[in-house]
């Protein structure tokens, strides 16, 4: 075991590489423009992360079970369409928001039903509900761009003159997700199922119920994110929520969540992931990178981060692997190090 402790620092670095990458990119952008490191800009990054971040929380639950939810953007659009149409019809915010969130959650229930009961694979189900959901949104809005009244534009309102509402909601959602995943049997069961579904079944876990629950949670999170997004943007159009599924998946994976399930967390993992993506986007504007290049640069940085993350997972596994033969050679540390280095290659 001593060989492993010799690399305690390396393991520490590898385990926290997302955070270190975040700090590195933050410092790099700050060197280009001093205002980048300002409190106001940090607030901008968190504000921009709020809606995508909430979607990513739900996505993390789904990914932890080894599933995927491609329909979150459509769920956002359905929720947004219902909220905007109700407001347009003269309903108050207090009625429109719960109805919208209920509709989004029901869309999640529809996914849950098809995946857990009908046993269709999540990729196909959510791809289908992505298309159907957008179609439904277009149908009920007649593809219109709908502006919402001022009382719905609460995205800039600060609670106690301090925290903007979107940031507060995001923080609360993170807190609840962390508590569920870390401190409840339900959370532990999600990890167990994601690690090995057959073993989880043998251990007596109700995997059907667990699967259904994560898709309902994902639908609920997308619906809440939709309300937050409308409060910031002030309108709903046909492009509302489009492409957000990829940002949410990228954020979760960047934060260390495995696409195969069983590994990952919402905090710091997913939160760091989404902040990292938004920070890159924000930083490119500060650096005034050509608009034609921005998307490419952003994609390359994210790919690099995912590549580094993938490498570190392999390295951590190798470093943590017990090796009896190496343990026997503790008396000769120089040779042990050499052998271990060979084992990494």
């Amino acid at each position: 075991m001593r060989i492993q402790t010799n690399h305690r620092w390396l393991l520490f670095v590898l385990r926290n590489i997302s955070l270190l990458l975040f700090v590195f990119i933050f410092v790099a952008f700050s060197l280009f423009n001093e205002r980048f490191a300002s409190l106001r800009n940090f607030e901008n990054i968190i504000l921009a992360s709020a809606d995508v971040g909430i979607v990513a929380i739900g996505m993390t639950f789904v990914l932890l079970t080894g599933g995927i939810d491609l329909s979150v953007g459509a769920t956002m659009y359905i929720t947004g369409a219902i909220v905007a149409l109700m407001l347009e019809d003269g309903w108050g915010v207090a009625a429109a928001i719960p109805c919208g969130i209920l509709a989004g959650t029901l869309w999640g229930c529809f996914n849950a039903l098809l995946i857990s009961r009908v046993r269709i694979i999540p990729f196909m189900v959510t791809l289908g509900t992505l298309t159907a959901g957008r179609g439904l949104g277009l149908l009920i809005t007649e593809s219109r761009h709908i502006s919402v009244p001022n009382e719905m534009r609460f995205g800039a309102v600060r609670v106690f003159d301090l925290v903007p509402i979107p940031v507060l909601v995001f923080a609360l959602m993170v807190l609840v997700a962390v508590v569920i995943l870390k401190y409840t049997p339900f959370g532990r069961q999600i990890y167990a199922m994601g690690n090995d579904v057959e073993a989880a079944k043998k251990a007596g876990l109700d995997t059907t119920r667990l699967t259904a629950a994560v898709y309902i949670i994902s639908g609920f999170c997308a619906a809440v994110a939709s309300v937050i997004s409308i409060s910031q943007v002030g309108s709903v159009s046909a492009s509302f929520g489009r492409g957000i599924e990829f940002q949410a998946i990228a954020a979760s994976v960047l934060g260390g969540t495995s696409l195969f399930g069983g590994v990952g967390n919402v905090f710091p993992g997913t939160v760091i992931g989404i902040l990292l993506i938004q920070m890159i986007q924000n930083g490119l504007i500060f650096m005034r990178v050509d608009l034609y290049l921005q998307e490419m640069v952003k994609a390359l940085v994210i790919l690099f981060a995912v590549f580094v993350d993938a490498q570190r997972m392999g390295l951590i596994k190798r470093l943590e692997r017990r090796n009896i033969r190496l343990e026997k050679r503790i008396a000769r540390p120089a040779e042990a190090k050499k052998l271990e280095w060979t084992a990494w290659q």
Binding site: N33, R35, F36, S38, R40, N41, N44, L47, A48, D51, R134, L138, E142, S143, R144, H145, S147, R153, G155, A156, S229, Q232, V233, G234, S235, S237, A238, S239, F240, R242, Q278, Q281, N282, I285, F286, R288, L291, Y292, Q294
Partner: protein, 339 residues
């Protein structure tokens, strides 16, 4: 036996659904041939597209034409398939709001091959290959006229200003034309303008908000904003208001502001006593719709297979200086005043 019953039930339901989808009534035979026009559009993202869609469909129906509407939801491949499908249905004419300039060329080629007249509304093809009736606003000139007025207002400040442009989707020739018009004026007055800040919007309010917020933090001295589409004004307000920069014209700290489209929101923000916007470029929507419809109907009735014409909408800039005389020429103001 059970599977057979199941299959039969499914087929029965399917048949009912198909029956429900067919038009309830067939047009009465008045002795004159009823022409069918395929109208392929993308999502109605903004008030401009909504009003354009309404103007085209209602005018065609009023003239006794049958209209087949297809929505591509901003998917270029889907639009191509939809137009091919219309051609297979042997429609008499096609009107398209193309997703982008390059798909417009493919649609024109398909229509030309089938010998069906095609009209392109407001979004020009990338080149002049093929034969089509294309009605399009001169985005560069309209943007230039708008930004020119804004520049004259900026000159009154007696100092250099920091401009920002919210750029549309760079795959859209309209967005590129508007950007060019903006830069024509910026480059004309090098002593008036600092280097402009560019913010990508991709015609998406969410993207625009994040970009504008970052740009305003990086450059808090921005005092001149041109948005490539009027539909982004609520987003701009959402960003500027918390910064204390959403000020009416004449108030201390007013950001000189202009856009392009001429929609209802822009009109409401230009009203006397509540004016935040200095100028907006106007695409003459009703002129464009009417001109295209007249041309395509004429071609269909004359039996022309490949009519080819470029129909220019010169547009204009509605400014605080000409509001009194030109306001009701803007389609958004007609909607705003309920006319």
């Amino acid at each position: 036996m059970k599977p057979l019953v199941r299959i039969f039930s499914v087929l029965l339901v399917f048949a009912f659904l198909m029956a429900a989808c067919t038009p309830a009534t067939q047009p009465a035979d008045s002795g004159k041939k009823q022409y069918t026009i395929c109208f392929a559009f993308q999502d109605l993202e903004t008030e401009f597209w909504m009003a354009g869609h309404k103007a085209i469909t209602e005018t065609l129906k009023a003239r006794g034409y049958k209209v087949v509407e297809v929505n591509s939801q901003e998917d270029a491949n889907k639009q191509l398939e939809q137009v091919k499908n219309c051609i297979a249905q042997k429609v008499d004419g096609i009107i398209v709001i193309p997703v982008d300039g390059s798909i417009a060329l493919k649609l024109i080629a398909e229509a030309n091959k089938a010998g069906i007249p095609i009209g392109i509304f407001n979004r020009p093809p990338q080149s002049d290959e093929g034969n089509a009736l294309t009605v399009v606003a001169n985005n560069e000139k309209i943007a230039e006229a708008t930004v020119e007025y804004m520049a004259q207002e900026a000159k009154k400040l007696g100092r250099k200003v920091k401009p920002l442009i919210m750029v549309g989707d760079l795959g859209d020739p309209n967005a590129v034309g508007r950007k060019q018009g903006f830069y024509n004026v910026i480059n004309k007055y090098p002593d008036l303008f600092e280097t402009p800040v560019e913010v990508a919007t991709k015609w998406n309010a969410d993207v625009a908000r994040d970009g504008l917020q970052a740009a305003m933090t990086a450059n808090p001295d921005i005092d001149f904003i041109f948005t490539s589409s009027d539909f982004l004004y609520p987003t701009i307000q959402g960003v500027l208001e918390p910064l204390g920069k959403w000020k009416k014209i004449g108030e201390e700290g007013h950001v000189i502001m202009g856009g392009l489209d001429g929609d209802k929101t822009a009109c409401s923000l230009m009203q006397p006593g509540n004016a935040y916007v200095d100028a907006t470029g106007v695409q003459d929507l009703y002129f464009e719709a009417q001109t295209l419809l007249d041309a395509i109907v004429k071609a269909i009735e004359a039996g022309e297979k490949q009519p080819d014409a470029w129909l220019d909408d010169p547009g204009f800039a509605l400014t605080q200086g000409n509001m009194a005389t030109k306001e009701m020429d803007m389609w958004g103001c007609k909607l705003f005043h309920g006319k």
